[in-house]
């Protein structure tokens, strides 16, 4: 079984971009998707700390402590970029002005619930902007690994961890599969190359509908 690499996940995420999209990319794999924007396509990246039009990482001599992304990494700005306050940033997020949001998660369930900010007694990260993003955006893709390294499914009937958002996730991309969430079920849409439907079924704890045709991802 060949799970997708981080870069391949990012590449599949980038296939959801459209010319003229304003996109918010979460920390980690979502951020990598910026490297796979097709030539000739204009996508404006929103960074929730108050930047629309985030560019590449700076050259060594371009580094500016006053210019960072939501992951606190130094970045640059593209021509046409704009800067604003955190209140304005979340007004555009909450107001539904961002076309696509991509973020990570610990668990997703077939009711569209997402858990991503804490594991009681073990890990407290905080939600940062994730709760606002999942509540404010209509078009959200969650990227995550399908199962833990112990083989426990992260795609559940009911999330076990504290929720980041309720009934808000409609599309999940894992290292094994692309799935939609409809009417309380996961619908298998695409398989990672070399991954069988059986592999996916085995590692999906939540209710999963397998259509007759499940094409391989085109990477």
């Amino acid at each position: 079984m060949m799970a997708l690499t981080r870069d391949q996940l990012a590449q599949r995420v980038a296939q959801e971009f459209k010319h003229g999209y304003y996109v918010n990319l979460g920390i980690g794999i979502p951020t990598l998707a910026a490297n796979f924007v097709p030539d000739g396509m204009d996508v404006m990246l929103q960074s929730e700390n108050g930047l629309l039009g985030m560019g590449r990482f700076p050259l060594d001599d371009e580094v500016d402590a006053d210019l960072i992304n939501a992951g606190k990494q130094t970045v640059t700005m593209v021509p046409g970029a704009s800067i604003f306050s955190s209140a304005e940033s979340f007004a555009m997020i909450r107001g539904g002005h961002v076309d696509l949001t991509v973020l990570g998660a610990f668990e997703v369930d077939c009711q569209g619930n997402i858990a991503s900010y804490m594991i009681p007694g073990k890990l407290i990260k905080g939600m940062g902007g994730a709760m606002d993003l999942v509540a404010g955006a209509d078009n959200i893709i969650v990227t995550m690994t399908h199962a833990s390294k112990h083989g426990d499914s992260k795609l559940l009937n009911r999330c076990t961890l504290p929720l980041t958002g309720k009934n808000c996730i409609k599309r999940v991309l894992t290292d094994l599969a692309l799935m939609d969430i409809e009417d309380g079920k996961f619908i298998l849409r695409e398989r990672a190359p070399g991954v069988s439907v059986e592999d996916i079924v085995k590692l999906t704890a939540g209710e999963l509908v397998v259509p007759d045709e499940v094409p391989e991802m085109n990477l």
């Binding site: 960074s47 929730e48 700390n49 108050g50 930047l51 590449r56 990482f57 700076p58 050259l59 060594d60 580094v63 500016d64 402590a65 006053d66 210019l67 960072i68 992304n69 992951g71 606190k72 990494q73 130094t74 970045v75 700005m77 800067i83 604003f84 306050s85 955190s86 209140a87 940033s89 979340f90 997020i93 909450r94 619930n113 900010y117 804490m118 007694g121 407290i124 990260k125 905080g126 939600m127 940062g128 902007g129 994730a130 709760m131 606002d132 509540a135 404010g136 504290p162 929720l163 980041t164 958002g165 309720k166 009934n167």
Partner: protein
Amino acid sequence: MSGFDKVVTSYEEAMAGLQDGMTVLAGGFGLCGIPENLIKEIKRKGTTALTVASNNCGTDDCGLGMLLVDKQIKKMIASYVGENALFETQMMSGELEVELTPQGTLAEKMRAGGAGIPGFYTATGYGTPVGEGKEVREFNGRNYILEEALQGDFSIAKAWKADRSGNLIFRMTARNFNPMVITAGKISVVEVEEIVEVGELDPDEIHLPGIYVDRLIQGTFEKTIEQRTVRSA
């Protein structure tokens, strides 16, 4: 400091009146745009039992993290714990009370606090631990929770440039929470890199009017970078 001249010349004067048990709002995102010298002054003063509202709590040895070392903070209102081990340790052990607040809700609570709006409804946090115990109201078939405004006894913030009357210009993403923080403080203290005479700033270029600023001080800044990330040429 008199009339419209908001400039003070010492950090002691800038933070005069800060007392144990007060609520302090602090600007900054990570270590970007933090009022680093005002935080150092709070550390020097040794004020304790503070409630601090800020998106993050600095790192272990920088920014607001410095106030955790001597346990000057009783309660922290923040959206992200992330890279601060001391914060996580004190939170887990119960020494530090923490109100995890979604980032956009935190910004809006401060904005509302400065704008005379006592509360607002938002979908953010509905159905999650953040929404527990809060009033829920349905608008157009969707559920929203009531979030209350946030104000500080003191606000501490960083801007790039100011005139002596406190008109402010921020620089790049060091703006972040700073404007809302400044509007929501009973006493708002701002440190800047440069102070110019009144009339030198173009009124159209001012990001935040001086009406919100009580004290202004010019400082020098370390501007520590948390994640220096570069590409090769």
